[in-house]
């Protein structure tokens, strides 16, 4: 670990936290602008947020591959791993804001979402880089609190506030649980810095193993709630249903990605020493998550809830590499596990956001989020239907899509770790998933439109979102090579 100590100065902050500064500072700025602008001009506010995100993204990309930077008493680290996470987060935020712009035209969402999304993403970015418990927790809470508000944003729909409250209660309990667990970690290690904790824990496992395992369990459970691992998943469908669709996409993608980064830091860094002891716990959580997520979606008629369960299942896939790391033979295996998770996360983000984008359009025109609303979509708008097909096939894991390739990589990881059964469960559950994904496919292509047969006119912006997501999904499936090369050359810190 190339630890270089620096004193805290603004140039250091800029060099280390530049993107975060842009995102969060931009959020404050936009908040002010929104206040100052007259009502009829406010529609430019989201676009400012979009620009902000783009600037931050370019900053990250321009600095990408510059080696590891560790700043501020080793509390903040900028490495390839965090940069990739940040790119993912910002990319998804970009799509979500655009989607929100589309959605707003119909639902008149308040413009607060533009900066709230930025705050949340800022928090998420801090999580990916922070290696101090305080920073991690602050980032997590920044993300969480901003998303509580986002879920409740649609004031006209009672379900929105209800979803927000539900999310707040469950999320706060989870936060408290995590915090309680972190406090024990601090107590044992005597430091909030993860590096020092890792050093301190080397000896502490023998003397304080009980308290450490309690801490571990509490943190894991809290994280599990946040990323909706079974049996901590029950809030997910309700909150997904209540939240405005762009926010749902945000919850499904960015919240989970950020908390996965949190999980990676804490679990592998702090508790890594006992990995071979507790990987099986993760493996089982992964298995039941895959099973319950995919079976839960079977009987769902509401596409949003269906996608919620589907995302639960996807989380099962995503945490499988964590389990596999516990059995990896050597360091290269671990890298492969991490890159496969990263790969799948990108594919997951694109296909999920794309699916939610199509859903938002269909739900708007039909006034219903049921599967039936998709009936005859191919006749009403072939473009949307074909795009949706790409997303669904990717979610189902059919070849030539990012979803397939990601699953394939995760499968390889499981194989590599000698955990064939994990791989088998992965594919067996995705075969179950065929049932409901193809159910939507059937509705779109097979069934006749019910009632309204008018063509759906999709706006240009929506088409851009959907098209880009589909393009990305196909790109990851058809030409995964370049991205894999990037992943292979990334310098991992954790």
């Amino acid at each position: 670990m190339g630890t270089t100590m620096h004193l805290l100065s603004f140039s250091d902050i800029w060099r280390s936290m530049g993107p975060e500064v842009i995102v969060i500072g931009g959020a404050f700025l936009i908040m002010l602008i929104e206040l100052l602008l007259p009502q009829n001009k406010r529609h430019i506010v989201p676009w400012l947020a979009v620009i902000d995100v783009i600037i931050a993204t370019f900053l990250i990309i321009s600095r990408f591959g510059g080696g590891i930077l560790v700043y501020s008493s080793a509390d903040y680290v900028v490495d390839g791993f965090s940069s990739l996470f940040k790119i993912l987060i910002l990319l998804s935020t970009f799509f979500v804001i655009l989607l929100a712009i589309v959605e707003q035209r119909k639902h008149k969402l308040p413009y607060e979402y533009s900066y709230l999304l930025l705050f949340a993403s800022g928090g998420a970015m801090i999580i990916t880089s922070g290696i101090d418990l305080v920073l991690l927790y602050v980032g997590l809470e920044l993300l969480s609190i901003a998303t509580y508000i986002l879920v409740a944003l649609n004031r006209k729909d009672g379900r929105s506030a209800e979803g927000g409250l539900k999310y707040l209660i469950v999320g706060s309990i989870a936060s408290a649980t995590i915090l309680y667990g972190l406090s024990f970690l601090y107590g044992v290690a005597g430091s909030t810095n993860l590096g020092q904790i890792a050093v301190a824990l080397q000896n502490a496992w023998t003397s304080d193993s009980a308290i450490l395992f309690v801490s571990f369990g509490l943190i894991l459970a809290g994280i599990a709630v946040k990323i909706s691992v079974v049996p901590f998943h029950l809030w997910t469908p309700d909150v997904f249903e209540g939240a405005p669709t762009p926010v749902t996409a945000y919850l499904a993608v960015i919240s989970k990605a950020a908390v996965l980064a949190f999980m990676l830091r804490i679990l592998i860094f702090a508790f890594g020493q006992k990995y071979q002891d507790w990987w099986l716990l993760i493996a089982w959580l992964s298995v039941i998550t895959m099973v319950v997520g995919n079976f839960g979606a079977l009987a769902q008629g509401n596409v949003k809830r269906l996608l919620a369960y589907s995302s639960i299942g996807q989380v099962g896939y995503l945490i499988m590499p964590f389990a596999a790391i516990g059995q990896s033979q050597n360091v290269s295996n671990m890298w492969q596990a991490l890159s496969s998770m990263m790969f799948y996360l990108f594919a997951y983000a694109l296909m999920t956001i794309g699916a939610f984008a199509v859903l938002s359009k269909v739900a708007q025109t039909r006034g219903s989020e049921q599967v039936d609303a998709f009936a005859g979509l191919y006749k009403r708008n072939p473009w949307l239907a074909v795009m949706m097909t790409i997303f669904l096939l990717s979610l189902a894991g059919l070849p030539l899509t990012g979803g397939f390739f990601g699953k394939f990589m995760i499968f390889l990881v499981a194989f590599n770790a000698g955990q064939y059964w994990l791989g088998v469960v992965l594919f067996a559950t995705s075969a179950v998933a065929f049932y409901y994904y193809f159910g939507i496919l059937k509705a779109m292509f097979v069934l006749e439109p019910v009632g309204d047969e008018e063509p759906i006119r999709a706006g240009g912006l929506l088409q851009v979102i959907v098209g880009l997501c589909a393009l990305g999904t196909l790109y990851l499936g058809l030409i995964p090579g370049p991205f894999l090369t990037v992943l292979n050359n990334v310098h991992w810190f954790g």
């Binding site: 070849p399 030539l400 292509f445 097979v446």
Partner: protein
């Protein structure tokens, strides 16, 4: 000739895109594009078939393009994945079969009037998928095309099927979907075990083209299979995985119930495609991977294969007797015939392998022909129910006559393709499992019973008064019937046209499994 396989696979897709670009109402143009899109690859396939070098046992007409690499995919080995095509004596006939069946299906589907555009697109897509499955020379390529057949088949059943089509399509989807994921697990496992074995053996055995050991290339795996033996325990496990996949994919008892439902609910064109070509994939997988690459696993489970085969043979034949619907009857009949192939593969004899390919091709042609004629009857009578038909020979002499040819071919009448297939399979079977084969030979009697009984009830006897007035086959219907009958007779009279192509590869496989 280098790129011929690529063209064969790609042309249907291109034609499909052309179809999509056409206005939905211009049925004539769409049909023409569909036909051309199937006919050109079929001609290429024929050219390849004629140019096929039977003495060479490697994959021929290789086309490979590097796709991507995954670092550290296995320990520190990098996985290079290529996309590619290539055929040997087993896949070449099946590629040809796809060509024939798909082209004739396009002609038959001229009769489809509902959602013509989508129909042709998905037919072309399915055609592409099946070409790809049989022509693939890489695990990845293979799997992609396998899954594309799943999507196309699902929609074809679901849109143009009968009353319970949604149910049938879902069953098709789940069964084949499960089969394909099990298969993928087996395929990856196969590549991994070969990689580790090759790495371990690299000091003592020279393995060409294997700087990296980990490969997804079928031809490389086939080469390695001749040089090294992966551990018996791994072979057993992998073989079981493949067996499970094949049992579901090929609808062997007790995983068969999706097939009768699928056939019962599909329209004629789809049935021709599914029965004629799609249902050959499972056993192709068996021959290509399980038999060729896991010889010890095969030896270990040979008797199991034979028993499972026998169960399917008798079960299919007996249930076919009681079938009330022509399409179910054909489905069970094909289950029975495929069981015979499994039995023969279990015998581990060269002649059994050769007979397996014969049977795949022959039953493909005959099943397509049966479905075609049965469909042509149903177009006129409006029913597939055997009890509602009767005396059709009077009003539909040509269709009934062709149907009789198909039925007799399925029964295994010499002079038609079914005989030499059945004969080779039974020679293989008797060589290894005399008792089981003797029991299996009951199916020859049962097949005659159910097919001729059904023929008697539908085409013979006095005409059923409830049936409407009917006109015999028109020009469009003559083409598929004449071509299929001609091919069936050709294979029956000159089996060498197929046998010469298969022989070398069958010999190589037999040498590998010690048969």
């Amino acid at each position: 000739m280098e790129d011929v396989l690529l063209l064969i696979v790609v042309i249907p897709l291109i034609a499909g895109l052309f179809v999509l670009a056409m206005p939905a109402r211009s049925h004539g143009v769409i049909r023409a594009i569909g036909l051309i899109g199937a006919l050109i690859p079929a001609c290429f396939a024929l050219a390849a078939y004629l140019a096929f070098d039977q003495r060479q046992i490697n994959l021929q007409f290789p086309f490979t393009t590097t796709w991507m690499s995954i670092a550290n995919a296995y320990n520190s080995l990098t996985l290079h994945i290529n996309l590619g095509f290539g055929v040997d004596g087993i896949s070449m006939p099946l590629v040809m079969l796809v060509g024939v069946v798909s082209t004739l299906t396009m002609i038959r589907s001229f009769k489809v009037t509902e959602r013509v555009k989508s129909h042709y697109f998905w037919l072309l897509f399915l055609t592409m998928g099946m070409y790809g499955v049989f022509a693939a020379s890489g695990i990845f390529t293979f799997f992609f095309f396998l899954e594309s057949t799943l999507v196309a088949g699902y929609l074809l059943i679901n849109i143009w099927g009968g009353e319970k089509r949604h149910y049938a399509a879902t069953k098709f989807l789940i069964y084949r979907g499960l089969a394909s994921v099990v298969l993928l697990a087996g395929l990856i496992g196969l590549a991994y075990v070969y990689a580790s074995t090759a790495q371990a053996a690299s000091n003592s055995v020279f393995i060409p083209n294997a700087p990296n050991f980990l490969t997804f290339s079928i031809s490389q795996l086939l080469t390695e299979a001749q040089l090294i033996h992966i551990p018996a325990a791994s072979q057993d496990v992998l073989f079981l995985v493949f067996l499970l996949a094949v049992l579901m994919e090929e609808a062997f008892v007790p995983f068969h119930t999706w097939l009768p439902d699928t056939h019962e609910q599909s329209d004629t064109g789809t049935n021709m495609m599914i029965g004629g070509a799609l249902m050959k994939i499972g056993l192709y997988v068996m021959l290509r991977f399980a038999v060729s690459m896991l010889p010890l696993g095969l030896a270990h489970y040979a008797t199991w294969l034979a028993v499972l085969g026998l169960v399917s043979i008798l079960y299919g034949a007996i249930v076919a007797i009681a079938s009330k619907d022509w399409r179910r009857l054909i489905a069970f009949s094909s289950i029975s015939h495929m069981g015979l192939v499994l039995l023969a593969i279990g015998s581990m004899q060269e002649i059994g392998i050769q007979g397996a390919v014969f049977m795949l091709v022959s039953s493909g042609l005959l099943t397509a022909l049966l479905f075609f004629t049965v469909g042509a009857q149903a177009d006129r009578t409006g029913t597939y129910k055997i009890e509602n038909l009767g005396g059709l020979s009077k009003s539909l002499p040509v269709i009934s006559g062709v149907m009789l040819v198909a039925a007799l071919g399925s029964v295994g009448l010499p002079g038609l393709s079914g005989f030499i297939s059945e004969f080779s399979l039974f020679v293989g079977g008797f060589a290894a499992f005399p008792t089981l084969s003797a029991l299996a030979s009951l199916s020859m009697i049962l097949a005659a019973f159910y097919l001729l009984w059904a023929m008697q009830r539908t085409t013979f006897g006095p005409a059923n008064q409830a049936l409407p007035d009917m006109v015999d086959a028109d020009v469009i219907e003559y083409v598929p019937m004449v071509i299929l009958v001609a091919l069936v007779v050709l294979l029956g009279v000159f089996p060498g046209v197929l046998g010469d192509v298969v022989h070398g590869t069958a010999q190589a496989i037999a040498a590998r499994i010690g048969g």
